[in-house]
Symmetry: C2
Subunit: 266 residues, 2 copies
Amino acid sequence: MRRQITGFSNPTVKFLRSLREKKHRKAAGKFLAEGLRLLTDARECGHLPEILVMAERRDPHPLLSALESDVVAAGGEVIETSEDILGKITGKDNPQAVAGVFAEFDTRIESIERDSAKIWLVAQALRDPGNLGTMLRTGDAVGAGGLILIDDCADPFSVEAVRASMGAVFTQKVAQARWDEFIAWLRAGPGQLVAASLRDAVPYRGAPYAAPCFILIGNESRGLPEEYELACDLRVTMPMKGRADSLNAAVAGAVLAYEVLDALDR
Amino acid sequence: MRRQITGFSNPTVKFLRSLREKKHRKAAGKFLAEGLRLLTDARECGHLPEILVMAERRDPHPLLSALESDVVAAGGEVIETSEDILGKITGKDNPQAVAGVFAEFDTRIESIERDSAKIWLVAQALRDPGNLGTMLRTGDAVGAGGLILIDDCADPFSVEAVRASMGAVFTQKVAQARWDEFIAWLRAGPGQLVAASLRDAVPYRGAPYAAPCFILIGNESRGLPEEYELACDLRVTMPMKGRADSLNAAVAGAVLAYEVLDALDR
C-alpha cells in the first residue's frame, strides 16, 4: 500500500513519532531506523520495514527503488511525506530522506546460539544508548555473535542506539536478561566469562582466552558489581598510565574484543 | 570573594549559562567544568577555577573544602546558589553540586612538546563532542601527551566534551591547527604519522610503530581525505569481520592506541 501524508496531526505520523519513546515502542513492539544505508543493510540481512517513510523531495537511488519494491511486495506500507514531517518523526533537523518501522526482535536469552560465534559482548546496566549502539557496531567488526544486555540497560531499539550501531542492530543478535537468568543460561553450556577488572586480574595481552568468549563490561559510572566480577572465569587488566582508573565502556569493550579476536584467530 | 546568588536573572548566572555556547566561550576565553571529581582532578593538575559555583544544599566533603580554600587563596570567586540555578547553568536536570569556570588553555600547535610523550592522538574534523572527550580520556589512559585537532572539529571546551573526558581535558594537552599548519610543524621534527586506512595498509598488529607516534583518526562519516592518508608514514588496517567497513572514531583511536602502547613499551 502506498499513500501520501501531508498533515502533522495524521494518526500515522503520531504513531511514528511515538516510537521515539520507549513505552510506546514496547507497547507496539516496533522501532524506527533511518537512512538509506541502514535500511539497505537491514534489507540485505533479511529485515524489511513494515512501514517505509520517504521524503517527497528525495534524490532517486537504485537502492531506494529496490527497498520500495521489496516492501510493497512483502505487503508493507510506503508513505511519502514532507521533509518537515520526517524531521518530526526522527527528531532530527536535517532528517535522512528515508526511515522505516521494524518489528522488534526476539531478545530472550534462550534465542542465542552460543556456538554461532567465538565472541559475544555482554553489557551490564549500560545507560548510554550511544555506547550501546557503538558496542553493537564493534561487535559486527570483530565478528561477534551479538550483545547481551544484563540488568537495567538503555533500550537497544531507541533511535539513538540504532543510529550509533550503524546498522549492526540488524546483524548482531541482541538479548536482554537479568543477571541470574544470564548466569544460569551461560553455565548450562560452554562459555568463558571475561571481565576487565582490577581484582586479582592478569594482563589483558596474552591472557588465556577461550571460545565462545563472553566479554563483560560494566555500568559507565559504577563498573561491575563485585559479585559479577567474582563469577567470571577470567579477569584481565588494561594499562592505565594516567590519572583515570577506567575507560569509556564502549572503548574498554572494543580494546578487549580486538585482543580476544587476535588470540582466538591465531 | 564569596557571595550568594538567588536570582535567575543575575548577570553572573547569565554569564555562566552563556558559556554553554561556543561563541560566548571564545569571546570570554573561559569554559565550564562540573563535578567534584573533575574539579579535584583539575586542582591536582594545577588548574584552579576562577569562579567556583556550589549548590547551597550540598553534602560536606573534605575535597570540596580544600577546593574552596584554594580558590579563595588564589583570589578566585566562590558563589553559592540553588540547585535549580546550578541546573540551568550546566544544562542538567540533576546537576552536580559544584561547577567551575576555567580559563581556556593555549591550544597553539607550537605549544606542544612532542618529546614529552611517546603517543599523540590526532583527530581530523571530529564532529561529536562525546567522541572528542572520549579520545582525551583514552589518551590519558595510554599515557599520550595530548590530542591535536585538525580542521573543523567539535570544541574541546564544550560542556559535553569536558564531561566525556572525565577530567582528561586537564591532564592532556589540547592543540588546534589546520592541516597545513600541522603537517609543517610535524615535519620540522621527529614523529611518525599513522592512520587506520584501507589504502596500501599493513595489519595494525605488529606494524613498525615508532615514537613519538601520532595516531590520526578521521571524521565520523567521511573518514580521512585521501591527501591526508597519503601523507602518513604508516597506514594500518584493523580486521573488519562483519558488514561494516569502519569503527566508531573514538573506538578506532583507542584500539590503535593500545596497540601502539604495547609495541612501544615492549
